[in-house]
């Protein structure tokens, strides 16, 4: 177990190294790194200050080391728009994004797992067919379009839910629902296919011949054994949702990192974009590490592999 944790930690360090190189070179992609890091209205003195602060007048390897030193101190430059430390701005918004992502996952799991089990048990029937249609629609519908339609219907037409902002639980319902459609599609499919596989195994026949109630076989035994791939996908989707939060947060003016990143993109606020990208990337690395270690704790097959 300790060896596995050490190996995963080593991999995480490797990924972090790549992330640091990429985020360093991101500003070079824009053409002129100095122009990227100073506001449009900067004076020649400001340009000089930034050059010295980030060491942009020195060779690239030295610049990279300077960047790492600054980043380790939490200094990724000030946002042009907010005139504040970029990293602080990002960290302030992070809990709001995590709240939206968690609500999304909760809705998706509550709908898709029962639906997946329901269709698996009724394999090759009309119910199964409609379950397939629902999951295909979920996978195909663009979340941001669904978001706009939900606002049109529930906020504009029925006026029962707020269209945007973050003032309470009611503000969370529409963005989390729009965000969850894709995962509902994915998880329903996955739950169905893994459950179909489990229900065809010998132990299910044995349990049935013992006279165990059907619901107990389905939920207590078969579903429990199907959970590992489902948990894997939920873990992966948590990361994907963080990355995709930019679009849905923009639609609902949800004040998280995604929306901050969007406003930074529209303002060409490159220090803030870099800080947001780096923070989200770091979060991915941590989530992947935790999920990997959790699997090893849950499943001895992974632990001893």
């Amino acid at each position: 177990m300790r060896r596995l944790i050490l190996r995963r930690l080593w991999q995480a360090v490797l990924v972090l190294f790549v992330v640091s190189i990429l985020s360093f070179f991101l500003v070079y992609l824009s053409g002129d790194p100095i122009r990227a890091l100073v506001p449009m209205d900067a004076t020649p003195e400001d340009v000089e200050n930034i050059k010295v602060q980030f060491g942009l007048d020195r060779p690239i390897p030295i610049q990279y080391i300077t960047f790492i030193k600054q980043a380790l101190k939490g200094d990724l430059g000030d946002s042009f728009r907010y005139r504040q430390e970029s990293l602080t701005l990002v960290l302030q918004r992070l809990p709001t994004t995590l709240l939206l992502v968690s609500a999304t996952i909760l809705i998706a799991v509550c709908i898709s797992i029962p639906l997946g089990v329901f269709t698996a048990v009724r394999k090759d029937t009309g119910y199964d067919y409609w379950g397939t249609v629902v999951s295909l629609v979920g996978i195909s519908v663009p979340g941001f379009w669904a978001g706009i339609l939900l606002i049109l219907f529930f906020a504009d037409y029925l006026r029962v839910l707020p269209p945007s902002g973050k003032d309470g639980l009611s503000h969370l319902i529409l963005p989390a629902t729009a965000n969850s459609l894709h995962i509902i599609g994915l998880l329903t499919r996955l739950t169905r296919s893994t459950m179909v596989e489990e229900l065809g195994k010998g132990y299910v026949v044995a349990l049935r011949s013992k006279g165990l109630p059907r619901w107990m076989i389905q939920y207590k035994h078969a579903l429990k054994n199907s959970l590992i791939p489902i948990v894997t996908v939920v873990g992966l989707q948590f990361g994907a949702l963080l990355g995709g939060s930019v679009i849905i947060e923009t639609v609902f003016a949800w004040p998280g990192v995604g929306w901050l990143l969007f406003s930074a993109i529209t303002m060409r606020d490159l220090p803030l974009i870099r800080a947001a990208v780096l923070a989200i990337a770091l979060l991915f690395v941590i989530i992947n590490l935790v999920v990997d270690i959790l699997y090893a704790l849950i499943d001895p097959k992974i632990r001893y592999a």
Binding site: Q11, L14, V15, V18, L22, L26, V27, L29, S30, G31, A36, D124, T125, G126, D128, Y129, T132, V133, L136, V137, I139, S140, V141, P142, F144, W145, I148, L149, I151, L152, D156, G239, A240, L242, G243, G244, V246, I247, T250, V251, L261, F262, A264, I265, T266, L270, I273, V277, I280, A281, F284, V285, N288
Partner: protein, 275 residues
């Protein structure tokens, strides 16, 4: 059971139909469009579709805030979507197949190196990588195609590698090797044709993802730039007016949805055919 299979086949046929309609829309946009997609007509701005009060047959799906015909813009938007879909899938598959072939064929450190790179890239969702890159690169159609291709090669790479590992053990590869065929020839003439079939399914499903990603990036202003019409940017503009003009954001979104749904149904059907 029989009815169920027939229904699944109907879905496959619907997938072919939807995809064919979108391809035709893109190819014949110039002929089908009732108006010039960029012609502004401010007195006619934000007119509703023909069936709503105040709508006219001349603009069947209504007009946008500059009085441009939404239907014509949707037809032309299909070009951008398909171009991005096909172009980025081509790039992703070329990178993925190339690296997957080399990785599976040569094994050892080449395989370890390429697969570690793939692992690192897989730590991040492709949409996040695409947003991060496009935020810094000056946005254009070609940079979008390139970025989407680069961030999604891993799936093609992994599948090509896996198939190469099994195909390279086959007798006919051994026979080619004993005849003195060069490694490049073995890879291109004997292995590549035999690993293509699972990649076709991945390509179809990837294309639907690329079209969704393009729409999302254009929605954020990081994709196709005005005045070129793209469904994502139309949706983004329409969002500002959805309180007074529901049709503006609804129809471009519907176009994205139908295209992606069609490709997914097609991919599903192809997968079943292979099984």
């Amino acid at each position: 059971m029989k009815g169920f299979r027939a229904k699944k086949n109907t879905m496959f046929l619907l997938g072919i139909l939807f995809t064919a309609v979108v391809v035709l829309m893109a190819l014949l946009a110039g002929v089908l469009s009732p108006h010039d997609y960029s012609r502004q007509d401010l007195p006619n701005a934000l007119k509703p579709p023909f069936w709503a009060d105040g709508g006219k047959w001349t603009n069947p799906l209504g007009t946008d805030h500059l009085g441009r015909d939404i239907l014509s813009r949707i037809f032309h938007g299909a070009r951008a979507s398909l171009l991005v879909g096909v172009g980025s899938v081509l790039i992703a598959s070329i990178i993925g197949i190339f690296l997957g072939l080399i990785s599976g064929f040569y094994g050892r450190w080449v395989d370890s190196l390429i697969m570690r790179i793939a692992d690192v890239q897989l730590s991040f969702p492709p949409i996040f990588l695409a947003i991060a890159l496009m935020a810094f690169i000056p946005p254009s159609l070609s940079s979008l195609i390139l970025v989407l291709g680069v961030v999604t090669w891993v799936q093609f790479g992994r599948v090509s590698r896996g198939s190469t590992l099994s195909v390279k053990e086959k007798d006919y590869v051994e026979a080619a090797r004993s005849l003195g065929t060069s490694n490049i020839n073995i890879m291109l003439r004997h292995i590549l044709p035999n690993i293509l079939s699972p990649l076709v399914v991945i390509a179809t499903v990837s294309m639907s993802w690329m079209i969704l990603a393009e729409a999302g990036l254009s929605f954020l202003g990081l994709g196709v730039q005005p005045p070129t019409p793209a469904w994502g940017s139309m949706l983004s503009e329409g969002r500002t007016y959805f309180g007074i003009a529901w049709w503006y954001a609804t129809f471009p979104g519907l176009a994205i949805f139908v295209t992606v749904l069609g490709l997914n149904m097609l991919g599903d059907g192809l997968r079943r055919l292979q099984i």
